[in-house]
């Protein structure tokens, strides 16, 4: 079981209570599709992804960014057993969506960068470390059901 310090627990809860899911989710997903364009392979039905402007203004990308953040919120609410909480999500990503799990790291990096931009100086090394640990647990849990 993952052990969280009081600081880590409080930091994660604090971050997610303060961010605007409707801004951060779309920003992270669109940044991922722009910075790592091969990730677009999973979004064939999303229409125009031809350039950064198109991606940033694409309503399906925005909607899906919010879905992803809502998924992360589940982990925030169940920090002591993210593995079990994410069992079905893991199966979904491996069996149905067939996402290469290395992509989880790419989105995680983009989410970190978007959050850093939002929080500015408040995103201290210690807060960053707590967030990184949280994302590492989330990614590992999503990878768990891949066979």
């Amino acid at each position: 079981m993952v052990k969280w310090t009081d600081f880590e627990r409080a930091t994660i809860q604090n971050i997610f209570s303060k961010i605007n899911y409707d801004v951060v989710g779309p920003a992270a997903l669109s940044r991922c599709l722009i910075v790592y364009p091969w990730t677009q392979r999973y979004f064939g039905g999303f229409g125009n992804l031809y350039n950064a402007a198109a991606i940033t203004s694409n309503p399906k990308v925005a909607a899906h960014g919010k879905v992803v953040l809502a998924g992360l919120e589940k982990a925030v609410k169940n920090m002591d057993d993210i593995k079990t909480t994410y069992k079905e999500l893991s199966v979904l990503h491996s069996e149905k969506l067939q996402v290469d799990p290395d992509n989880f790291n790419l989105l995680a990096d983009c989410l970190t960068i978007v959050l850093a931009g939002q929080m500015g100086a408040a995103f201290t090394p210690e807060v960053h470390a707590a967030f990184q640990k949280f994302l590492a647990v989330v990614v590992a849990s999503l990878r768990k059901q891949y066979l």
């Binding site: 940044r31 722009i34 790291n105 590492a136």
Partner: protein
């Protein structure tokens, strides 16, 4: 501890287009006066967020964020990055002696270049939230990967 040794996927280096180089040079011109501060924050943060990187600095008295050795070394690293921007058209030739230094003397495992690059990008997002657009982000990510590749040239 698996989550501190968070494995980073091996990413290939993608050649820098003319547009990438232009984007990097323009952005760098805006931010270069903050080089030392960027380096200090990136290094401070790397040592905290990826503690396995501390193994390269056991000879420092103080590894805490913003300490004197961290600040000094952050500035050193970023002046190397500045040099790379100036030599962006031929990084392999331009960074030859730095590559030899990293390969034969420092022997830093190349996976750490990606880690430091990521931390530099995080600092850029913090310090320049409006300028660090997705387009600038992708150009800088590619550039730092190309620098890392040039630094690894002499390893084997």
């Amino acid at each position: 501890m698996f989550f501190t040794a968070f494995s980073r996927p091996a990413r290939t280096t993608f050649p820098l287009t003319a547009k990438d180089k232009e984007t990097v040079k323009t952005f760098w011109a805006k931010i270069s006066s903050n080089g030392a501060a960027i380096g200090a924050d990136a290094l401070s943060r790397m040592l905290v967020v990826y503690p396995q990187t501390k193994t390269y600095f056991s000879h420092w008295k103080d590894l805490s964020p913003g300490s004197a050795p961290v600040k000094k070394h952050g500035a050193t690293v970023m002046s190397g990055v500045a040099d790379a921007v100036a030599k962006i058209d031929d990084l392999t030739a331009g960074l030859l002696s730095l590559s030899e230094l990293h390969a034969f003397t420092l022997r830093v495992d190349p996976s750490n270049f990606k880690i430091l690059s990521h931390n530099i990008l995080v600092v850029l997002a913090i310090m320049f939230p409006t300028d660090f657009t997705p387009e600038v982000h992708v150009a800088m990510d590619k550039f730092l990967a190309a620098v890392a590749r040039a630094l690894s040239e002499k390893y084997r």
